[in-house]
C-alpha cells in the first residue's frame, strides 16, 4: 500500500492523475501544478477538485453574485456580511440575528427522507457556527405536478425528513412554501432556512488565528459519506486493497445534532473558542482550508487522529468525507481541557487533530508523513472564475407575447363562483396543513406566528417581547416570464409578508435555483434574476446577507423555471403588536390597499383555469411596496388593524378565503367602482394587502393612508358564515373549507 506523500509527488512529477474523473478542467489542473510547483498529491488533488467545484466555489455564479456586495443599501443593521457562514444583522436591545437559506435539491430527489433531513441539519450547523442559538426553521419546497406518481414518492419523504430531523432538534418550523409545477418533476427544490439569535458580543467567525491554538474536531465519527468521486483516488493509491463500498446516501442523526447544538452553546457561553466552522460540503477539506485561509494562514493537521466510523477509509477519503453532525473549533491551549469536558458531558466525541501554526501553509500529515502542503487561500478562496456566456433565449419574446389577458374570462356570477372554488382547491392554493402539521411549530415556547400566517414570528426576549419574523417567497412562473421582474416580485412578496405581520423588514437571504449554467439561456435567467434582486434590495434598503446557489436543476435539455427564493427577515419591538391573517371579529371593515390592474400573466388563475403560462408578470413598484410596508407596520403598532393578509398568487379572493377560514368568519364584499368582479377577485397586481379595521379605527386608518398617499378602498365587512360577493355569488365557509382543505390529503395521504 503506497501513500502519495508530498515527497513522493515531487519525485514522480509525471504520474498520471485522475483530475478529469474528479471534475477538474485541464487548465484547472495545470493551475494547481503551478500553485504548488509540482504535481499535487492525491489528497491535494481531492481537496482542490472539491473546493473548486461549482458547489463550493460558485465559479459560474460569482461574477453575478458580486453585485450583492456592490449594490449595498445604507443599512446600519448589518453586522456581518456576505462571505461568512451566514450574515448577521442587529435587531436591537443588544441582540443580533443570523439567518440563511440553502438548497438540498439533488440529494432529496435520490433519497427524499435523508436528503431533506440532512438539508435541515446542514443549515442549522451553519447558523450555530456563527455563535447563535438556532430558534426556528422554514422550508420552501417545490415538487413536480401534484398528481404525478413520483411526487407521491418524493413529497411525503421530504416532509417526513424535515419533520423527523427538525422536530427532533427542537426547532419550531414556522414557515415556508409548498409549490407544485411539472417543471420540478425530477428536480424537486428542497430549500431550508434557519434563524439564530445571539448577543452582539457572541458573534463567532470561521477563522483560525493564534499560533499554538488547537484544532478540535467534534461531533459524529467520520464515515465514508458523500465521498463518491474521490473513491477513484483511493482505488489508484491503494492498488492492492479495494476500498469498501462507500455510501451513496448520507444518513442524518438528529439526536447527535441536538447534542452538538447544546454542547456548542455551552462552549460558546464559556467563551472557549477562537474560531469555529461547521463541516458541510467537502468536509474537513473545506473546514481546515477555510479556517486557515481566513485566519493567519498556517495550520497543521494529523489526520490519523480523526475518529472513524469506517476504519478502511483512506486519508483522501477522510478529507473529503461529508459525514454529518461534525464541527471544527479553534481553541486556545488553556481552554482545551474544559472544551473536552463539556463535550464529554454531552456524550459528544471530540479530539484535537492539529494546531494553528505561524507559517502560511496548510499541512496535513498521515502517521507522520506529509500528504498536503498548500497555501490555504488557493484552495478556499482563490478558485476559478468562469465568465459563462449568456443570451436571452429566442423563445422569450413569444412567451411574453402570449398575453394571459386574452384568455376567456368568466361571464357571470355562477362561472365566477365555480372558478373561485377551482382556485382555492387547486394544489398550489389549497391548504398545506396536512404537510405543516407534521412539523412541530410550538417547541421552545416562543412561537407567535407560524404557517399559514403571512410570516413566521418568534419572540426572542421574554422580558421585552422583542421578536423576529421571516417569510420566504418565490414564483418560478413569474421568473420564467421575466427573470428580472420575477426576482423582484419574490423579494417584494416576502417583504410584504413580513410587513403584513407587523415586523420591519431588515435584510434578506436568497436561494437561487436554476438549470445548467452551461446553457446560455439559463445563464441569462440567472444574470437577470441576480441583477433584479440586487437592484431591488438596494431600492428597498434590505441588504443580501448571504445565501446559496443551486445550479444544474434540469433533466436533459429542460431546465426548471428560474426560481429565486427570497427570505426576508424582519424585527418587531413588541410581539404583542403582531398582525395575524385571521378575520376574527365580525363587523370589522375590510380595506384593500394598493392599486388593482388587469394583471394575469403567470397568475394562479391562468394556471388553474387555462393551464396557461405567458405574457408579462405583474409590474413591480418597490417604492409602493415600501410605502405599503410602512403603513402596515404603523397600523399594527398603533392598533389600527386587527388582521392583514398580503395579496399574491390567487389574488384578493384567495387572501380573503384564507383569512375567513382562519378566523372562522365570513365576509361580504362589494366590487369597488372602476373594477369588474373578475379583475377585483383574481388580479395579481403587486403592492397590495387586505386589512381588517375595527370600526373605531376607520377614520384614523383612512386618514393615515390618505396622508401618505396609499390608495385604500373599502371593499366590505367581516360578517356571517359565507364569502359573499354582492350581486355575483355566495360561497359558504363550509363549502370553502371542504374545497380548500381536502385537496392535499386526497392527493398524498
Amino acid at each position: 500500500m503506497s501513500l502519495d506523500t508530498v515527497k513522493h509527488a515531487s519525485e514522480t512529477p509525471d504520474s498520471e492523475q485522475p483530475w478529469k474523473e474528479l471534475g477538474l478542467k485541464e487548465d484547472e489542473y495545470a493551475r494547481i501544478r503551478e500553485i504548488l510547483g509540482r504535481r499535487p498529491t492525491g489528497a491535494e488533488l481531492a481537496m482542490y477538485s472539491v473546493m473548486w467545484s461549482e458547489h463550493c466555489s460558485y465559479k459560474s455564479s460569482k461574477v453575478h453574485l458580486k453585485q450583492f456586495g456592490e449594490k449595498v443599501p445604507e443599512n446600519d443593521a448589518m453586522l456581518v456580511g456576505i462571505g461568512e457562514n451566514a450574515g448577521v444583522v442587529d435587531v436591537g436591545q443588544g441582540y443580533a440575528v443570523t439567518f440563511k437559506v440553502e438548497s438540498h435539491n439533488h440529494p432529496s430527489y435520490i433519497e427524499p427522507y435523508q436528503g431533506a433531513a440532512t438539508g435541515v441539519g446542514g443549515i442549522v450547523r451553519d447558523i450555530l457556527a456563527m455563535g447563535a442559538r438556532p430558534v426556528a426553521v422554514v422550508d420552501p419546497l417545490r415538487f413536480g405536478a401534484a398528481d404525478h406518481p413520483d411526487t407521491k414518492r418524493v413529497l411525503p419523504g421530504v416532509v417526513a425528513g424535515i419533520g423527523g430531523y427538525g422536530n427532533c432538534l427542537g426547532l419550531p418550523n414556522i414557515g415556508g412554501e409548498v409549490v407544485f409545477d411539472s417543471c420540478y418533476q425530477g428536480n424537486p427544490l428542497v430549500n431550508a432556512g434557519c434563524i439564530g439569535v445571539m448577543k452582539h458580543e457572541d458573534i463567532h467567525l470561521a477563522k483560525a488565528s493564534g499560533p499554538g491554538n488547537k484544532v478540535i474536531l467534534y461531533g459524529a465519527r467520520t464515515g465514508g459519506d458523500g465521498i463518491g468521486g474521490v473513491s477513484v483516488l483511493a482505488s489508484e493509491t491503494f492498488d492492492d486493497t479495494k476500498p469498501t463500498k462507500r455510501p451513496a446516501v448520507q444518513v442524518g442523526d438528529p439526536f447527535q445534532e441536538k447534542l452538538l447544538i447544546e454542547c456548542t452553546l455551552e462552549i460558546f457561553k464559556e467563551k472557549l473558542v477562537a474560531g469555529i466552522q461547521d463541516l458541510g460540503g467537502a468536509g474537513l477539506s473545506c473546514a481546515t482550508s477555510e479556517l486557515a485561509s481566513a485566519g493567519s494562514g498556517g495550520m497543521r493537521v494529523d489526520l490519523e487522529k480523526v475518529h472513524l466510523r469506517d476504519a478502511t477509509l483512506s486519508p483522501e477519503e477522510i478529507l473529503m468525507s461529508e459525514s454529518q453532525e461534525r464541527m471544527c473549533a479553534i481553541v486556545e491551549p488553556e481552554h482545551v481541557d474544559r472544551f473536552l469536558e463539556i463535550c464529554e458531558k454531552w456524550d459528544v466525541i471530540a479530539v484535537v487533530i492539529g494546531e494553528v501554526t505561524d507559517g502560511e501553509r496548510l499541512e496535513i500529515f498521515w502517521h507522520g508523513e506529509q500528504i498536503v502542503d498548500v497555501p490555504p487561500r488557493s484552495v478556499a478562496h482563490e478558485g476559478p472564475t468562469y465568465h459563462r456566456p449568456f443570451a436571452r433565449p429566442e423563445w422569450q419574446d413569444a412567451l411574453q407575447a402570449d398575453d394571459a389577458g386574452k384568455l376567456p374570462r368568466p361571464q357571470d356570477g355562477a362561472e365566477l363562483k365555480d372558478q373561485v372554488l377551482k382556485l382555492v382547491s387547486s394544489p398550489n392554493q389549497a391548504s398545506k396543513s396536512w404537510i405543516t402539521d407534521q412539523y412541530d411549530r410550538f417547541v421552545q415556547g416562543n412561537t407567535v406566528l407560524a404557517q399559514p400566517e403571512d410570516a413566521g414570528m418568534v419572540r426572542i426576549d421574554e422580558e421585552t417581547n422583542l421578536g423576529v419574523a421571516m417569510a420566504t417567497d418565490g414564483n418560478g412562473r413569474y421568473a420564467k416570464l421575466d427573470p428580472y421582474t420575477g426576482a423582484q416580485l419574490a423579494l417584494a412578496e416576502a417583504y410584504r409578508n413580513v410587513a403584513a405581520s407587523g415586523a420591519k423588514p431588515l435584510a434578506i437571504s436568497d436561494c437561487l435555483n436554476f438549470g445548467s449554467p452551461e446553457d446560455p439561456a439559463v445563464m441569462w435567467q440567472f444574470a437577470e434574476a441576480t441583477r433584479g434582486l440586487a437592484d431591488g434590495c438596494l431600492q428597498l434598503g434590505t441588504p443580501v446577507t448571504g445565501g446559496n446557489v443551486s445550479l444544474y436543476n434540469q433533466t436533459g435539455e429542460t431546465a426548471i423555471h428560474p426560481t429565486p427564493v427570497v427570505a426576508v427577515l424582519g424585527v418587531i419591538d413588541d410581539v404583542n403588536r403582531r398582525t395575524p391573517i385571521a378575520f376574527a371579529e365580525e363587523g370589522q371593515l375590510l380595506y384593500l390597499l394598493g392599486d388593482t390592474r388587469e394583471e394575469f400573466g403567470g397568475s394562479a388563475w391562468s394556471e388553474v383555469i387555462h393551464q396557461h403560462l405567458g405574457g408579462m408578470p405583474p409590474a413591480v413598484d418597490l417604492d409602493r411596496e415600501k410605502l405599503l410596508g410602512e403603513i402596515l407596520i404603523s397600523a399594527s403598532r398603533d392598533g389600527m388593524i386587527d388582521a392583514a393578509h398580503d395579496l399574491s398568487d390567487g389574488g384578493l379572493v384567495q387572501a380573503v378565503v384564507e383569512s375567513c377560514l382562519r378566523g372562522g368568519n365570513g365576509a361580504r364584499l362589494v366590487v369597488p367602482e372602476g373594477l369588474d368582479a373578475f379583475t377585483f377577485l383574481f388580479s395579481e397586481s403587486a403592492g397590495r394587502a387586505v386589512v381588517a379595521v375595527p370600526r373605531s379605527e376607520e377614520l384614523r386608518f383612512t386618514d393615515m393612508c390618505g396622508a401618505r398617499g396609499l390608495p385604500a378602498t373599502r371593499i366590505g365587512v367581516v360578517d356571517g358564515d359565507a364569502v359573499d360577493v354582492q350581486g355575483e355569488f355566495t360561497l359558504s365557509l363550509a363549502e370553502l373549507r371542504e374545497a380548500h382543505e381536502a385537496t392535499i390529503p386526497a392527493l398524498l395521504a
Partner: protein, 226 residues
C-alpha cells in the same frame, strides 16, 4: 412560600425550557435536573418534559428510563412525590412501569402537531386539582409515538378506578385506545399525558390559550398547602 419544581434534561429533551418557564409562570421555583445526577436537589415535584430523548431510538423513552436520575425519581415517586410526564416524559413513565400501558407509533404513521381539545376526566390528581371534572381544555399536541395501548383488563381497571385523567375530544389524533390522552397512578401523584400543557401557558405564544397553566398551579397549591 413556594415550591421547587424540577425539570429533567435528558440528551434530546426539547421542552425542558418550556416546562421550567411554565413552572415559573405558575409561581413555583423552577429547578433544572440533569439525567446523569441522582441528586434531585430537594425538589418537591418533578416534570419529565417532552422531546426525543436519545432520539427515540430503540423505543421512545426506553434508554432514558435507565438513567441515574430515573433511579431517584422512581424511588421518590413510589414514596408519593408528584411526577408529571409530558409526551416523551409520559413514554418514559410507561417504560419505567410507573404508569401502565405503552405508546406506539401514531396510527396514521405521521408526526402530528395540532391544537387538541381534551376533557379532564379526573380533577383530583396532584396535577389537575385546579380543573373541574369534565372541563374541556385546548392544548398543543405534537408527537410521533402517541398511540396509547394497554390490554383490555388494564384499560377496564383504569376506567373503573377513574385513572383515565384526560381524553381526546372531537378527534382521536393518534389511534389511542378509548381516546385516552393521559392517565394517573392509583395514588394520583404520577400523571402522564401526550399533549403539552407547558405550551399553553401564555396568551401570546403557542395556541394563544392558557389552558395548560392549571397543571402547574394545581401542583403549586398542593405543595404549598401541604
Amino acid at each position: 412560600m413556594t415550591a421547587r419544581i424540577g425539570v429533567v434534561t435528558f440528551p434530546g429533551t426539547l421542552d425542558d425550557r418550556d416546562a421550567l418557564r411554565a413552572a415559573r409562570l405558575a409561581g413555583a421555583e423552577p429547578v433544572s435536573l440533569w439525567h446523569r445526577d441522582k441528586d434531585l436537589k430537594q425538589v418537591d415535584a418533578v416534570v419529565l418534559a417532552g422531546g426525543f430523548s436519545y432520539g427515540d431510538y430503540l423505543r421512545a423513552g426506553a434508554i432514558s428510563r435507565f438513567s441515574p436520575v430515573m433511579e431517584s425519581i422512581i424511588e421518590q415517586a413510589k414514596a408519593g412525590m408528584p411526577v408529571l410526564g409530558i409526551c416523551n416524559g409520559f413514554q418514559i413513565l410507561t417504560e419505567a412501569h410507573l404508569l401502565p400501558g405503552a405508546m406506539l407509533r401514531n396510527n396514521h404513521l405521521h408526526f402530528i402537531c395540532r391544537d387538541q381539545k381534551l376533557r379532564v376526566e379526573n380533577a383530583e390528581t396532584a396535577w389537575t386539582s385546579d380543573y373541574v371534572q369534565g372541563q374541556e381544555i385546548e392544548v398543543p399536541l405534537k408527537n410521533m409515538d402517541g398511540r396509547y395501548v394497554a390490554d383490555e383488563r388494564t384499560l377496564d381497571e383504569l376506567e373503573a378506578e377513574g385513572r383515565v385523567a384526560f381524553r381526546y375530544l372531537d378527534m382521536n389524533p393518534n389511534g389511542s385506545l378509548r381516546d385516552i390522552a393521559g392517565i394517573t397512578n392509583a395514588a394520583g401523584n404520577v400523571v402522564g399525558l401526550m399533549p403539552h400543557p407547558e405550551h399553553a401557558v401564555e396568551p401570546l405564544v403557542g395556541t394563544g390559550k392558557t389552558d395548560g397553566l392549571g397543571f402547574f398551579t394545581s401542583i403549586l397549591k398542593k405543595l404549598v398547602n401541604a
